[in-house]
């Protein structure tokens, strides 16, 4: 599976039209997009996205505990979404776990580290919201 590469710079995603990502990298950046997307914002997929960004904006996240609490739900929602909407022939390649770990909290900025356990290897990405 191939797709265009996305770069996350802390201000959003940037599509790099000259770079291609494949297989697990595709899954990882798709998962990151899902994690940061507000649930219900896509009319095609009502279950797409998580509450994480909205929780941060609305003040539901106010300390490290609540930040991690919301992140755990977001990770679970993302994994579930991927499992539901994956092509049948690609399901075996999905990560078995998705973990979102809070790495930093500052005014107007939350930093999470997103980790995946694939059947073959574990990979981690860092996502700044």
């Amino acid at each position: 599976m191939k797709g265009l590469k996305l770069a996350f710079d802390g201000k959003g995603g940037l599509v790099l039209t000259d770079q291609v990502v494949e297989d697990e990298a595709c899954l990882r950046q798709n998962a990151a997009v899902n994690l940061a997307q507000i649930r219900g914002s896509d009319r095609c997929f009502p279950d797409k996205g998580t509450r994480l960004l909205l929780a941060g904006v609305q003040g539901i996240i106010f300390d490290t505990q609540s930040a991690q609490h919301e992140a755990n739900f977001a990770a679970l929602d993302t994994l579930t979404f991927m499992q539901v909407h994956e092509y049948t022939e690609e399901v075996a390649k999905l990560p078995t776990t998705v973990t979102v770990q809070l790495t930093g909290i500052a005014l107007g900025k939350l930093t999470y580290r997103m980790s995946f356990t694939f059947p073959e290897a574990a990979v981690a990405d860092t996502l700044i919201l």
Partner: protein, 590 residues
């Protein structure tokens, strides 16, 4: 030739739904189908949700696909006349052009039509070139003639050959003679009753050519949805070969018709189609038609001779063959010119005889209101009830006969002869089928009193209610039957809280006549006593309440006897005739 605008439609503006009109289900389904379709070609490309291609290309395209599918459905809806008939139209220009392909209205009938009264100073025969033009302001009209040859106008008393372009002059008093002709043309400014035309050919003795009624535009006043419905009804055929086809044909030829129906062998009211020795009905079709002017009320002065005796037998009656311009549906009254206080009404001292000019074609009452009907009027010299003296003075003409002048007030349909002529035109008449155009049988309403309840303080819009009721009664025609519920609706809209009852007095008038003469009966002008003896009184069908207005059926019970009149009415040939003044209201305040 410039291309019509609907060849290059603005699809987005005309057919595309707004994005908000698309449902989530539509968009999701479109995306799934699009993804499935594209993956067949590029299985390795990531188009899953959250992927750049999936979210930034596929999802917007899914909206586009869903919108195009909706637009395609709308375009097909414009082609589906059932949808158009229900008023679902997205591109009116296209639908109008599309309907034109079916020829809902042909070019001839799209022209404006009207009736022109020609008045001559001399009673004589005239030949009018069929190319003669009538100019009403900037509007030019041609004669509408359904048979070959020029228009022949014959002097008073002539009997023209049927199914030809012939008219007979009628004496309208003051030394003038008139006949009606039918014209068609393009109408820019409206031509209204009383407008005078100039003609482009010299016609000696022509005094005037005047529009008798407001001209019909010819443009169907129908919306596109109504046109579509008509197209669906007519596409199966528009000719005179079958009941529905005959109806469709005449509606197409005369868009201004208010009612049209046809009776075929087997129908209760089709009495002309006798069964032959083989048990087969003769192929006869009666086409009933009435225009929007079917209740045109007009008055004409006529001269009626007073007979003291006939062949040495005392008569002492005014008798005349009724020579009025139109074919009367109902004679409202006959008033003396000399003494306007003397007014005679049908069945109230006034006898009106009818006799068919062709017993084979239109026997007995089937000739009513058609070109085959002859009418005579007869009444005694009105007397002063206390002194017994004559109320009228008579004059004596050069041959010594006594006469008096009267004004005949009667209802007739000015367009009916044009319809009749069209039905009998060799161009459209089905081979082997005996066609007869007939007017609808009028139920003359003399009382229509609506008893309603209103709440105290409510202002009733009775003028509006009256107009609506009148319009409803005029337009109610086959296949619809009268319904009191419609009157109730009008009353509710006018402010009534309830409608208690409708008091109705009405009578079916089979013909303008009160007496029917068999084909071999004597001419009342020659032998009144014998004619009176031969005359048969048609059945009297009175209507005393509103539910009876929806007259199911009444067929002459004496058919097969010597007293048969061929009176027949049912929903196929029933219409209502009334003066607006007979609609009154009775109020109860609660």
């Amino acid at each position: 030739m410039p291309e019509p605008s609907f060849w290059q439609p603005d699809l987005v503006a005309l057919y595309f739904p707004k994005l908000t009109e698309l449902t989530d289900t539509q968009v999701a389904a479109a995306r799934a189908r699009l993804e499935s379709y594209l993956r067949a070609g590029w299985p390795e490309v990531d188009m899953r949700p959250n992927s750049p291609l999936g979210d930034l290309m596929l999802t917007p395209f899914a909206y586009l696909l869903a919108a195009m599918e909706t637009a395609g459905g709308r375009f097909m809806s414009d082609l589906d006349l059932e949808q158009v008939a229900q008023g679902k139209i997205y591109n009116c220009d296209f639908v109008r052009a599309f309907l034109a392909n079916f020829g809902v209205y042909d070019q001839a009938s799209l022209q404006s039509t009207g009736v022109v009264r020609l008045v001559f100073a001399t009673d004589a025969d005239y030949t009018v070139d069929r190319r003669m033009r009538f100019q009403f302001g900037s509007n030019t009209f041609d004669l509408r003639l359904d048979f070959p040859g020029h228009l022949q106008i014959y002097k008073v008393g002539s009997v023209p050959t049927l199914n030809t372009n012939a008219r007979v002059l009628r004496d309208i008093g003051n030394g003038q003679y008139a006949c009606d002709v039918y014209v068609k043309g393009d109408m820019g400014a409206a031509v209204v009753a009383g407008d005078t035309a100039t003609v482009d050919l010299v016609l000696t003795q022509l005094v005037s050519a005047t529009a008798l009624t407001d001209f019909a535009t010819g443009e169907p006043a129908s919306s596109l949805s109504v046109l579509a419905q008509k197209t669906r009804e007519r596409f199966s055929g528009a000719n005179l070969c079958a009941r529905n086809n005959a109806v469709s044909y005449l509606q197409r030829e005369f868009p201004e018709l208010l009612g049209v129906s046809a009776s075929v062998p087997g129908d209760a009211v089709q009495l002309r189609a006798a069964v032959n020795a083989l048990g087969i009905n003769e192929p006869k079709v009666d086409v009933y038609a009435r225009s929007s002017q079917y209740d045109f009320l007009t008055a004409q002065q006529v001269r009626i001779q007073f007979f003291e005796e006939q062949d040495a037998v005392s008569v002492q009656r005014f008798i005349a063959k009724l020579a009025v311009v139109g074919n009367p549906l109902f004679i409202k009254s006959i008033t003396s010119v000399d003494n306007p206080a003397v007014v005679l009404y049908p069945d109230n001292g006034l006898e009106i005889f009818t006799r068919s000019r062709s017993a084979a074609k239109a026997p007995l009452l089937t000739c009513a209101g058609t070109d085959y009907e002859d009418l005579w009027v007869s009444f005694e010299m009105p007397k002063n009830s206390s002194t017994g003296t004559d109320l009228l003075t008579t004059a004596t003409d050069s041959d010594g006969s006594r006469f008096a002048d009267f004004v005949v007030e009667y209802y007739y349909d000015p367009l009916f002869p044009a319809i009749s002529s069209r039905v009998n035109s060799a161009d459209v008449k089905p081979a082997g089928v005996d066609m007869l155009a007939r007017p609808f049988v009028p139920v003359v309403i003399t009382q229509f009193e609506v008893n309603y309840v209103k709440r105290a303080g409510t202002t009733m819009l009775l003028d509006q209610a009256k107009a609506e009721i009148l319009a409803y009664l005029r337009k109610t025609t086959y296949p619809d039957a009268f319904s009191s519920a419609q009157i109730g609706d009008s009353m509710y809209y006018a402010g009534a809280a309830d409608m208690k009852s409708i008091r109705v007095q009405a009578r079916v008038w089979w013909s303008a006549a009160t007496l029917v003469l068999p084909a071999d009966a004597a001419d009342p002008l020659v032998d009144y006593a014998s004619a009176k003896g031969d005359a048969v009184t048609p059945p009297t069908v009175l209507i005393g309440n509103s539910s009876e207005l929806a007259l199911e059926s009444y067929i002459d019970p004496l058919i097969g006897t010597g007293d048969e009149t061929f009176a027949a009415v049912d929903i196929l040939n029933l219409c209502y005739l009334l003066d607006p003044a007979v609609i009154t209201f009775s109020e109860t305040v609660r």
